[in-house]
Amino acid sequence: MTVTLLTIRALLLRRRSLALLLPVLSVPLFAGIAIVRGDVSPDNQAIIIGRLLVTTVAPLVALVLAVTAIGDERESGTIVYLATARISRLRVVAEKTLAAAACAAILLIPALITIVVLGDHLGIGATNILRGVLGTLLVATVYAAVFITVGLLLKRALVAGVIYILVWEGAIATIAPSAERFSMTAWGRAITDGGIVGLSSDLQPTLDPTTGVIALLVVTGLAVLLGAWRLGRMDLP
């Protein structure tokens, strides 16, 4: 776990990481407004958790942490200490993913508390609250894995990631039902929103939660394998 602990420490010491609390705090802010206005409904729950947290905030937080987890090591040159160590490239990428996902989970704590508070207010039950937390964390993990690998493939991984989140996940995949099958956040929404009763049809996920969990785990695994392959092939500074 040495790589994980070193990465978590490095990520949490960065100001850029702490700045991520700003988008995270938008989730309790909108939830607070809904509660104060007495406007807590299944649809508002799905908009705040499914659309804001799972589709935008969690991917954004995981993206920045993932790109930083590998980018900072390359920039500072400390990646050579990992590359010359007696550990496999697969372990390096897997531990980096774990570290980025763990940091995302730490920074997302205010949003995860919001899921509990909002769910309790709405009376959706402990299972659905737990599904909300699990879906959010799985989306953060898949984004961490995918964008660590993208960071090993592209120089401008952060820009590519932001464009991907805004254009594909935030626009196309939320409007076109057929695109949902290829959207990582739609898989997450299938978990977080799938059990909520009384959702209007345009917010109702078309995928079932089990498919969402399996798809997220499979893509996470494939991304880690691809990242390890890439790290093993590339020249390091």
Binding site: T2, V3, L5, L6, R9, A10, L13, E75, S76, G77, T78, V80, Y81, L82, A83, T84, A85, R86, I87, S88, G232, R233, D235, L236, P237
Partner: protein, 310 residues
């Protein structure tokens, strides 16, 4: 016996630039200096040796294994990189201990304490490396490279940016490690540094290995080359004519008030010059060697390697 580190006809290109071209060498216990000016290919050679870069042609072997594929080969290497980067938020002890764990050392705490003692950092081991001087950071980097007791220690420009006292400490450390039987390869662009530390020297010029041998053999090789001396004299022409007759003088270029003399025997020139100047009635204002810099030595070795001279 398998060499600890072996390059066999290794080449590496970056697009159409040859970073390292067809180089072969092996290193054994003791200190080997990798000498070359900036851009000569030293860092690329080190990246190839440590498995950080893949050769386009040829093979690199560490204890007989490919360092890009073999964990055992990587475990045999200790690398002190050129960059100044250290993981943030860690004390010297924490950082060296982390490296020990990454390299599978069982007693990471004990090994880190030993490595820090070897570089005289025990007293400051608990301090955050953020506040360290460049010399101290360099010693932390050496400690992390030694913590798993490597068979091959590779240092990329370890004396860069150090003050004289720090340089002496690192040079003394390299001597000690070499005498303890670790095969140490270190790069430098300063001839004097390499000469002081290394038992064996590899000279890289434009990615090619142009000379290899003991420092004294290299020095003799360099001493053999013709030297160019510029003499400011008035009048220049009669003195130039007289100098052309001295033993060892191969060429005299006569300018308006300067002479450029190429000689294979600078001592004979120095001895004869005052008397000749007196005889010619010439007044000498300045004498200056024009090719004592390392660049010209490399130039000579390059030309020699290509068969232009001798």
């Amino acid at each position: 016996m398998t060499p600890l580190l072996q390059f066999d006809r290794v080449s590496k290109w970056f697009r159409d630039t040859v970073a390292v071209g067809d180089i072969s060498f092996s290193i054994e216990p003791g200190v080997t200096g990798l000498l070359g000016h900036n851009g000569a290919g030293k860092s690329t050679a080190i990246r190839l040796a440590t498995g950080l870069a893949r050769p386009d042609e040829g093979t690199v072997r560490v204890i007989g294994l490919d360092p890009r594929r073999s964990g055992a080969a990587r475990a045999a290497i200790g690398l002190v990189p050129d960059g100044d980067g250290l993981w943030p938020g860690l004390s010297a002890r924490g950082l060296v201990e982390a490296c020990a764990r990454l390299r599978g050392v069982k007693d990471a705490k004990g090994a880190a304490a030993d490595a820090l003692a070897a570089v005289d950092l025990t007293d400051v081991a608990e301090r955050d490396t953020k506040g360290f001087s460049q010399g101290m950071r360099q010693r932390v980097k050496i400690a992390q490279a030694l913590v798993h007791r490597p068979q091959v220690l590779i240092l990329d420009e370890p004396l860069n940016g150090l003050d004289p006292q720090q340089r002496e400490a690192v040079i003394e450390l390299l001597h000690r490690l070499g005498s303890e039987g670790i095969a140490t390869l270190f790069s430098s662009h300063v001839l004097g540094e390499v000469e002081r530390v290394a038992d064996n020297v590899l000279v890289l010029v434009n990615g090619r290995l142009v000379a290899e041998g003991a420092p004294h053999a290299l020095r003799e090789l360099m001493d053999e080359r013709p030297r160019r001396v510029q003499i400011a004299a008035d009048p220049a022409r009669p003195l130039g004519a007289a100098l052309a007759a001295i033993a060892g003088v191969e060429q005299v270029e006569i300018g308006e008030a300067t002479l450029t003399v190429e000689t294979s025997d600078p001592a004979a020139l120095a001895l004869a010059l005052p008397a000749l100047a007196r005889d010619c009635g010439a007044r000498i204002a300045a004498i200056e060697p024009t090719d004592e810099d390392l660049e010209s030595v490399y130039g000579y070795l390059t030309q020699r390697a290509r068969g232009v001279r001798r």
